[in-house]
């Protein structure tokens, strides 16, 4: 894996890819203090695709920033491949890379190939090898014919594919993917997910830390998932292990018309959590309840508040139900 001009000093093979111990991060400004991370302790083994699932503002990006040496923790210890993120950043940087979703990074006046080549040089990859890697990855991600296009002319999905190539062409040991499919169309998101899975399968030492608020994505990709809410890890298990937490509970999907207020569910005995969203004048409601008796009370409550049910379905528990149970609110 050693590249010319690139100092990769990998420590003992037995160390974990990522280890965080009691990591806190507090942001202080004149007006307020925000605890973005609260006593976060996780370990990610080599070869894992580890998911960090939580709503916007939960602390996912903050943790990634700490692990990629962009941000210092307020307290606690964080290690990547055994190296301390606060002291050993020069040893960590050659073996990591990252991709953030929902942004427009890149030098718009440069072509796709120029952008990628430039970043390859920042990693000391010899020119010929860099060109070969860029070519292979562009073909794999379906943008082989876009090498001469300026970055500013690309669509959101095309830009994100370029970002993925930028990160993976350096052959990192650990990749941090921060909402990599945010705002992408279904096809591009699927392509990127498949690419990530295939990349991991090629080498058992490769590790990915993925943050997302798409439960389906976490469920499909991750070997283990940590659920994070308001900076705190509230659960950590395999996807099936997490779903077992709500095995006994009942998940209901209800379409209600017209749209009514559902705050009263907070006070209803037996309701574990709910998530509601506007569905074009109707209300789409997902409720997790403890027992059958509560189902009747929810349905009666809707009727009492002037709502009529146009669709009702009892579903298999999902990660969102786990999140609802643990935090009392939805992921979106």
């Amino acid at each position: 894996m050693t590249q010319k001009g690139l100092r990769r000093v990998l420590p003992s093979q037995r160390v974990d890819a990522i280890a965080c111990e009691h990591v806190d991060r507090i942001f202080e400004s004149k007006n307020r203090t925000v605890q973005a991370l609260n006593d976060v302790t996780i370990t990610v083994k080599k070869g894992e695709l580890f998911g960090l699932l939580g709503p916007n503002g939960a602390g996912k990006t903050t943790l990634i920033k700490i692990l990629t040496t962009l941000l210092l923790p307020t307290s606690g210890k964080a290690h990547v491949y055994g190296y301390d993120v606060t002291r050993d950043e020069n040893k960590i940087r050659p073996i990591i890379n990252m991709v953030s979703g929902g942004e427009y990074s890149g030098y718009g006046l440069l072509t796709v190939r120029e952008n990628l080549w430039m970043f390859s040089q920042f990693y000391g990859i010899p020119g010929k090898e860099a060109n070969q890697r860029i070519k292979t990855l562009m073909e794999r991600l379906g943008i082989a014919n876009m090498g001469d296009r300026k970055i500013r002319t690309l669509s959101t999905g095309e830009r994100q594919r370029v970002s993925i190539i930028r990160a993976f062409m350096t052959e990192p040991q650990v990749v941090f993917l921060d909402e990599p499919t945010l705002g992408l169309d279904v096809e591009t998101a699927r392509l990127i997910r498949r690419f990530i899975q295939e990349w991991l399968e090629k080498d058992s030492e490769r590790t990915v830390l993925l943050t997302t608020h798409y439960m389906m994505e976490a469920d499909e990709l991750c070997s283990r998932i940590a659920i994070i809410n308001e900076g705190k890890i509230v659960a950590l298990d395999t996807p099936s292990g997490l779903k077992n937490m709500v095995k006994k509970e009942i998940s209901l999907n209800i379409e209600i018309f017209p749209e009514i207020k559902v705050d009263w569910l907070n006070n209803l005995d037996g309701v574990i959590g709910f998530n509601s969203k506007d569905a074009g004048g109707n209300l789409s409601l997902r409720v997790v309840v403890e027992h059958d008796a509560a189902v009747g009370e929810v349905l009666a409550g809707i009727n009492q508040h002037g709502g009529k049910i146009s669709y009702l379905n009892k579903e298999e528990p999902t990660l969102e139900d786990v999140f609802l149970k643990l935090t009392g609110r939805g992921l979106e």
Partner: protein, 271 residues
């Protein structure tokens, strides 16, 4: 290789918007036009155009000042541009390339690009009857020391820009403005108030512009700076430049640490 890539990036960002010919014209005519404008002002104020040491002083000082101003103005943009406009700073920052070396590469290219209009201005000076007495070796050494002092200023500026939002160009202009006023660029430092003259003797730029005049005109016309031999000026410039570089580097490292502590290395503002 990585420094070369950052130099290449600087060239691309500066030049990629048009054809090489138009870029060279733009890169040359803009600063040359600015210098000629100053000459026009000189003509209006003095009523004369040719002859007189003050014209040589002003013309050469202003031509070489362009290296300082253009490089600093540009370095002032790099961090804010990469961080907020291109949103690439965090990806460059987490690469194995030292961010310090990246900035060095970018500023070195800007310094080199500024040499072309400087050459044109020196050539135009022939028509203004500037009495050139160029000492090539001294001039090459002066360029090298000039680059050291400019990158030191650039580092200090970059440190400030790491902690601020969207004031890159104005901070850069303020920096270069200080050198313009207090370093004997277009007027001798003996016309400054006493405290300012003393302050000028603590700035590397004062000695650099003195070396510029000695290497291009073969003499120093500033009455205060004439009191030093060329060797003394060079030694003082080297010592102050090294000190300035160390202070700038430490300031940059401190700003780097604070930016990482505050979590603003990927800040995007709408300010």
């Amino acid at each position: 290789m990585a420094v070369r890539s950052s130099m290449w990036l600087e060239y691309q960002i500066e030049a990629n918007w048009t054809s090489p010919v138009i870029f060279i014209l733009y890169n040359t005519l803009k600063p040359v036009g600015g210098s000629l404008l100053l000459l026009a002002m000189y003509y209006v104020v003095t009523g004369g155009f040719l002859g007189g040491e003050s014209l040589y002083f002003l013309y050469i000082g202003n031509a070489f000042y362009m290296l300082v101003a253009q490089t600093l103005f540009n370095v002032g943009w790099i961090i804010h541009d990469d961080r907020e406009h291109y949103q690439t700073m965090k990806y460059i920052y987490i690469s194995p390339l030292s961010y310090f070396m990246y900035l060095m590469g970018r500023s070195a290219m800007r310094f080199l690009l500024s040499l072309l209009p400087l050459s044109v201005l020196i050539f135009l000076g022939v028509f203004l009857k500037i009495p050139y007495h160029i000492e090539v070796l001294l001039l090459l050494g002066t360029f090298f020391l000039g680059w050291i002092f400019v990158i030191s200023s650039g580092l200090l500026l970059s440190g400030i820009n790491m902690l601020t939002a969207r004031h890159g160009n104005s901070v850069g202009q303020a920096f270069s403005g200080i050198f313009y006023l207090f370093s004997g660029v277009v007027f001798p430092i003996n016309v400054l108030p006493g405290w300012a003259s003393k302050a000028a003797l603590g700035m590397p730029s004062t000695y650099w512009f003195s070396l510029v005049r000695r290497s291009v005109l073969g003499k120093e016309v500033d009455s205060i700076m004439s009191g030093f031999t060329t060797g003394e000026v060079a030694v003082r410039l080297i010592i102050i430049s090294v000190l300035f570089f160390v202070i700038s580097y430490l300031t940059f490292r401190l700003a780097d640490y604070l930016a990482r502590k505050k979590g603003i290395l990927d800040m995007t503002t709408t300010y």
